[in-house]
Symmetry: C2
Subunit: 112 residues, 2 copies
């Protein structure tokens, strides 16, 4: 996975940081892949980045055109079911933050 | 590492997403640890979260009280030297986004 390619700001970010229980009995990774794919088809979706470290911390940042797009994704029926399982089974702890991206810059190595 | 414990919004997030070259000859991981520790001693620092996936994508999110605190950290002399090495040696690509956290919520499992 690469850093997401996003338009010039302003746009919105959902920063989701989690620690898992280790109980993957309800097909965590399949659901996570399906949710990424489904998010990618939502109106106003701009990109997603995800990394899970060996120490159990997971960070997923998704980017959106507007707060309305984020709200619609939160209320998506299949996503609601996944959120429910997340609270019930998969996550020991999570923090979700909604932020307005005001500035951005980046670098791509010429040889890359 | 756990999700950062942050105050009620508003506050600011620096979302740094990177892909490494794989060249760690200039002591990447030591510098990364030192920078985390140094950031933690800056005025206005609220917390930091970091995860590096097996696929080479790294995400570090740091949280700050104000844009001024972010600016002061960016201009820190030791941090400037590390940024220089990042561009010259460590990163094939990175994206850095500065965002204002407007809403946040979380969950901690009772049994955790």
């Amino acid at each position: 996975m690469n850093p997401a390619t996003t338009p010039d700001p302003p746009y919105y970010a959902v920063i989701f940081t989690s620690r898992q229980t280790g109980d993957e009995s309800n097909a965590y990774s399949e659901t996570a892949s399906r949710m990424k794919e489904l998010a990618g088809r939502q109106a106003g979706f701009l990109g997603i980045e995800s990394a899970h470290g060996d120490d159990g911390l997971g960070i997923t940042v998704s980017y959106w055109e507007s707060p309305e797009a984020i709200h619609a994704w939160k209320a998506n029926e299949k996503h609601l079911a996944a959120q429910q399982k997340g609270r019930a089974v998969w996550y020991d702890r999570f923090e979700l933050r909604i932020a307005k991206v005001e500035r951005a810059y980046g670098m791509t190595r010429d040889s890359a």
